[in-house]
Symmetry: C5
Subunit: 268 residues, 5 copies
């Protein structure tokens, strides 16, 4: 099984250090209110950002992902903040585009320790997002913050956004454009995902959690596969905060990510 | 009946305080001259912004909404001003877009205590408005003013702009993008509207008054439903200044909003 | 007959004072070289901007309207200058759009005492012009100059640009966006035009002269109708400088505008 | 025969003086490498900008027209430089647009004594070029340089770009937008071209040389016709540097332009 | 056989000196990860930018071409850096456009000694890239760096991007827009390529290496043909780092470029 002990040794600055524990990381994502709408993903509990903030703390996450509005009104400062500076809603059709709605300066004032930005690779508006991310990456670095790229292949030309070729292209795009870490979808197996990790080079790879998996084990095995492939960690939302016991799920994830345990032998 | 005692406790700043009385609010909206045209909504009396200014004062409104031109030529300073910094006319077809026509700095020079901005959620130009609102929100906060988002789902993809899903999405979008308050349409019942209020989180919710209701009671019951759902208040225009006795109507509304009276038992 | 003694009393600054005589005004427009082309409107005499400058002076006009190029090369300083800062030619088809070609700062350096800008209400590019006018209006006011909006309903959605509804919408749009004066087309009768004047509120209304009328009296009666409706005055071009005796025509117009004479009793 | 002794007397500044000899001028144009491509217009000799620079000097031209790249690498300073700050290649189809590729500041640093800019009148992108030229014209004047507009009617709506109406519209557009000189196509006869010259007012008119004429005399008669119509001079490229003896051709042109000789009596 | 000893003598500054050895040059290109995707061009070895950095050093290249992300994380400073400041991925269809994703200032901070930029000549977005390159070229020169243009004819209108006419147009476009060097495709023979070199004037010409040739000799003969035509050198990627022995291939190339050896007689 291909595997890679990924590190940033050799890079000039360990940009992502604030989000790493022994080189690994587990991030809590919560931008679904904007990206999907509250009625698709939320219930009476997890619609409340305070509840998510609490999970991030109790679940000992390495970081939490918020849009500016949530950061401004709910962020408590106890878990490192990744401010997502662009976002789109799910209603509009046509080629996807997501534009900056929060300045890096403002993100810093809200306590951000990293900047997040989504790039829709393959979209007819791809060039606009490459350019915008390029500028934001520089502003982030100038402010001492890493830039994390959500690279999602999407648009009319994209047939299969989890193929080895497409996911590795997403990973590489992040590296080439200066991302310190990329959030990409899982390809489905360790072998192909390890090519995506290699393509990302010194940009750290975070597997995107995706929609709630049918069983805990199904999800945990995906995470294990990504970690085995050399991923630095996971950016997870729904599989944690839609879980009946988010803190327990976080505990399972930590065993996989930080202790490299197999799903079959982990402590439940 | 679901209900929520909504407050901003826990947020870092009570941005909307200038517009609240015991946590509730009643705003007078008057941007219809631009949005609909004078011949649709106005008569010889209410075509005159001075008349509206007078109603705002006599009706003891918590704020008045003007475009820059009206603020510059008619605002008397006696009621807190919300300056609407974008707007569109009703003639052009195609996907809706409304762009900034007043700088935050200029709004402040006109006496504004809050900035208003319309976002057409679901429009093909949604990304432009997200971005523009994002910048304006920061400029407003830098100037010490709250940012209020009129979030109106509109465009070819929107089938029903008062459904529970769509209205709650509008509310949530405002919260995520940093609005301190959102103005949204009423869903028709307290139950569904309370989901929208929950989705808005710490962003205060103002029910949009909409066109003149057939009877006073019909309108008042809508307002009561929204308040019961946890809304902070109402931004009303036509149902007040098209009313034969706007001050009396304002009195009815105050009983519902501030005294939580039922329509059936209010003092008429 | 509806009529309105229009004044700016109550507004904070009498922005248009430089262009008023006892609250009334007569402006000489000369942007047709760009808007229509020289071969459509000009002959060997009136193709020369010096000739127009001379008419403005001898005809005792309250202001003259030039594009930057004419102001720079022909303006003598003897009649207050309104600098038209956008303009388009007549050749291109498609939805109309006119963009700024002269900065406010440059206009001031050329001696401008007011800024003029055309908005094509109803055009697919309406939002761009609303935004641009909004910025220019602020720059003008910051420089101490009034902003005058030429509001012309135009584009595929506009069926009849002189109807009561459309003309009053144009007038109101100017007011809402911060224009100190609007130049709009005549509706054809005093009654309907007085609604447009009311809709414009404290923004002064200038009737647009339009193409050369078949007879002097036909044109003068239109002007009289607009003045009776409460218009501040007239911005006239072709009906003066295409006239065999422009100074005489100016004299007729002054009798109507400033002395409120009826066409039937004026001194010829 | 209509004729006009054109001068800038009365204008506030003789912007074009650096390019005039007794009020007349002969400019050498060399932007064809970009506009048409080297294989269309050039041979082994005239592909070399040094050769053109030499012709400009030996042919005693009043100015030479270069894009920034040529100015930077070939300009010797011995002939006044007009820097063409926009340009397009001939390959792309669709409505023509040419955007600024050289800042005025950079042009000045390269030794420019005038700024050149092409406007495609009638193009769907006309508004963009009007706006860009407007800004450039101001920057040029602020730097003490004249702005010369190449006004070329082009695009799907243009049927005949040498008609009296279209050429005079081009000339007038330059004047209205603040050009100190316009480069326009010849209409074919003195009478119609004199209307274009009149339409240009105090903006000096340069006839555009166009493609290599079949005979020297054919070309020289066109130039004579333009000069008789009141043109200030000629901006010529191919008819000089594609000529077997460019310096001799320049000598013929000088006789027509500066000595007003007829083609039939000039010294050959 | 046409040949040209190309030099920059006569130009004001030897912009490209950092990349020349006796007036000739060999550059290592590595932007394929973004332009083509990792799965198309890379294997387990050359997917790693460190491996490429090592080849650049051992192969004694005159420069290495990186996107910002690679430069930031892998550049060692031992070979002069050309920072490619725009780039696009291969997935999106439609007219090609590549926008700036790295500022010149940031490129300098990463150690760049030259700025690279791709222009898609003939694309519907050509005007945007001309304009962007124009600005970047000035910023590069202001910072003391040369600007290198990758000029690639591409888009629906381009039938054959290696014809004499098209390649020479690409070369000339670079010169006209101020490029100090152009990277263009080989036309297939020395005769036609020498016309491209002539068209480029004082802008140095780099042949684009293109995809891996079937045999070493096939590729080396192309390079020899370009050098004989007057090219300054080669910007090569895949033919070196996809080669089983990249350093040996680099040695062959040096013999052709710097020693002008024929393929038949070179030392293998």
């Amino acid at each position: 099984m291909p595997s890679k002990a990924k590190s940033q040794s050799g890079s000039k600055k360990q940009w992502m250090n604030n989000f790493l524990t022994d080189g690994k990381s587990m991030l809590l994502a919560y931008d679904q209110g904007l990206e999907h709408g509250p009625s698709v993903d939320f219930n009476d509990k997890n619609v409340d950002p305070s509840y998510i903030m609490e999970i991030a703390l109790k679940g000992r996450f390495n970081g939490i992902v918020f849009q500016k509005g949530l950061a401004e009104k709910y962020y408590t400062g106890k878990v490192p903040l990744i401010l997502k500076v662009n976002g789109k809603a799910a209603l509009a059709k046509g080629e996807p585009v997501s534009r900056q709605n929060c300045s890096v300066e403002y993100a810093v004032s809200l306590g951000a320790k990293a900047i997040g930005y989504t790039i829709y690779l393959g979209s007819a508006y791809e060039a606009d997002m490459f350019q915008e991310f390029g500028r934001i990456q520089e502003e982030a670095h100038d402010a001492g913050l890493p830039a994390i790229a959500w690279v999602y292949p999407r648009g009319a030309v994209i047939q299969n956004d989890t193929s080895r070729e497409i996911v590795s292209y997403a990973a590489r795009t992040g590296l080439e454009l200066g991302a310190d870490a990329v959030k990409i979808k899982y390809t489905g197996d360790t072998d192909s995902f390890s090519w995506a990790v290699k393509s990302a080079g010194k940009a750290l790879v975070f597997m995107s959690g995706g929609p709630k998996a049918p069983t805990d084990d199904a999800f945990l095995k995906q995470v294990k596969g990504a970690i085995d492939a050399g991923a630095t960690g996971l950016a997870v939302g729904r599989n944690v905060w839609q879980h009946p016991d988010p803190v327990k799920m976080a505990d399972y994830l930590r065993q996989i990510i930080f202790e490299r345990k197999a799903v079959e032998v982990m402590q439940k």
